[in-house]
Amino acid sequence: MSPPAATISHVVPEAHSLGGLLAPSGPPRRAGALAASATFGWRAMLKIKHDPKQLTDVIAIPVVFTVLFTYIFGGALGGTPGHYLDTLLPGTLVMGVTACTMYGGARLAQDVTTGVFDRFRSLSVWRGALVLGGLLGDAGRYLLAAAIVVILGVIIGYRPGGGAPGVIAAVALVIGFGLALSWLWAAVALLVRDAATVMNIGFAVVIPPTFASNIFVQPRTMPGWLQAFVKVNPVSHLADAARDLMNNTGGGGAVAWSLIAIAAITLVFAPLALRLYGKQG
């Protein structure tokens, strides 16, 4: 087992310069809340940069659903694929973003299991910074998903009546909803402490309401109990709000409902996530 003595001596690192590095650093500094959050955001971006394949779902889900529904079901559902796009595209925008909200939570759970999380907690850093920094990374991911949907939509013939301001407002609203869900997944991650479990719970919670909504079809043909759910489903309100903004239709009721949903989800889960973060084991 033991290596020959000759190899030992030449691989021992030249650590003689360490002494000079260990001079007392003076009074302890504390990273500001903003700087710390930005650092965690930077870290989240670096993780995406080093492992771009984690973006597969972010890209695939909106592309597949937009193309699939437009060309296969579009004629049947909306008269023509072109007409259907007005309804569908704001909907797939909502879906594309919603379906990738659990990744941030999964990353957080991974940090917990690898011990990185404890190390961050052992630092004198504002306890919201890790979660908030994660949200910055999430926002980047959501923006990418949104951009893909919009660009793809324009390529296949979608012309937003609301113009650029309408599209930007819709994207901002949908990202706001995504960030509210990020808090939810952060709380779940800190409770279950396992990345795969967060993903499984995430899909189980996110996918059914995405279909049981008005994203793909109007609920007219659904059974009554399902119509009732579709009506209260925040995903439906958000899809309607995105349609109103992008197509410049409607009076803003759906937008108001969406903002209320975003505020409610955030107010419940942000304090919970922060509480779980600060909790000492």
Partner: protein, 339 residues
């Protein structure tokens, strides 16, 4: 390599009284008292599950004790957490680094989180990578690092800002001997620069090599404390080894020694040698007197003695005597790979 450095340390780095921490019904800590002077390397020695990591988690404010009090660098661990966090660094049992990020990026992240400016973080990261012999791997993701490289980077991340107190939780567990030597060298240098180090280990040899003061922990309690030499002395004076000129006289010698020393006498595999483990005695003069009498009896009986010496007990024997348990299976593995 004993490194109780003479760096002026006013006051205590750690002062804990009666720490209790229970997980469910299991008392991971069952009344820990601990005093660590500033500038000291303090070894926390115990088998798996003894409570070493839990103690570090409480002292580093990652866990809250259910009972007892702890002051770390003069600050209360239950109420002045931020003060403690700003001054201590924790290197956990498993290298807690970001696998996806490069070594350089990991260090820059910690620099920023320690309150350094962007430029200072980058400079510090480069300096540390150079000092730890990791410059060549600076831009590789940590995923691709070997165990020894990870541990070095991990310790480097704890030195971004020189901490007043460094917790090192089993820094060499599972390491090959070469990497272990590198880590020992690092710890000695860190201690020499004046940082107080609390080191946990399952390896007696490691505590013996690095720590000036050692506490032995078992089942959430400290069962013994002192310098390596004091702990060995508490266990016993060691083993008396006697070598005869004539192997024919061994049985005669055995009878005389057993009668005088009132201890079991073992016949070694060497046909000329005998050994007598000297069980715990409060004072060494007693042992000296006993041995003197035994030698006189052997001489009177005309048993020719070629040599006599006393072997110091190993810390392993000390552990066995203090806890009633062999140190840990891991220790045996370690010994195997090390020799």
């Amino acid at each position: 390599m004993m490194s109780t450095t003479g760096v002026a340390g006013d006051g205590l780095a750690i002062e804990a009284h009666g720490l209790v921490k229970a997980y469910g019904g299991h008392r991971a800590l069952d009344g820990i008292d601990l005093t660590v002077r500033r500038g000291q390397v303090f070894g926390f020695l115990g088998p798996n599950g003894a409570g070493k990591t839990t103690t570090i988690r409480v002292l580093a404010t990652l866990a809250r004790a259910d009972g007892g009090t702890a002051r770390v660098l003069g600050f209360d661990a239950a109420s002045e957490m931020e003060e403690i966090r700003a001054r201590v660094a924790v290197t956990g049992q498993f290298a807690s680094l970001d696998e996806d990020l490069t070594g350089y990026e990991n260090l820059v992240v910690f620099g920023r989180l320690r309150g350094l400016s962007r430029a200072a973080s980058k400079l510090r990261a480069e300096e540390l990578l150079a000092a730890f012999g990791l410059t060549g791997s600076a831009s590789r993701p940590v995923r691709a690092y070997s165990g020894g490289m990870r541990r070095r980077l991990d310790i480097g991340a704890s030195l971004i800002v020189t901490p007043d107190l460094l917790f090192l939780d089993e820094p060499t567990t599972g390491m090959d001997p070469r990497s272990q030597m590198q880590v020992w060298d690092l710890v000695s240098q860190i201690a020499a620069a004046g940082t107080t180090v609390l080191l946990t280990t399952q390896y007696l040899e490691e505590a013996d090599q690095l720590a000036g003061q050692i506490a032995v922990i078992d089942h959430g309690r400290i069962v013994a404390e002192g310098t390596s030499a004091q702990l060995k002395a508490r266990v016993g004076a060691g083993t008396l080894h006697i070598r005869l000129l004539d192997g024919q006289q061994r049985h005669k010698a055995r009878g005389i020694l057993a009668g005088t020393l009132e201890r079991a006498v073992e016949l070694d595999s060497d046909p000329l040698a005998l050994s007598v483990p000297l069980a715990t005695r409060p004072d060494a003069t007693d042992v000296g007197g006993l041995i003197g009498r035994a030698m006189t009896r052997l001489s009177e009986a005309r048993v020719a003695v070629a040599g006599v010496w006393i072997g110091q007990p190993s810390l392993h024997e000390a552990f066995l005597a203090l806890t009633g348990l062999p140190a840990s299976p891991a220790d045996t593995d370690h010994k195997d790979t090390y020799s």
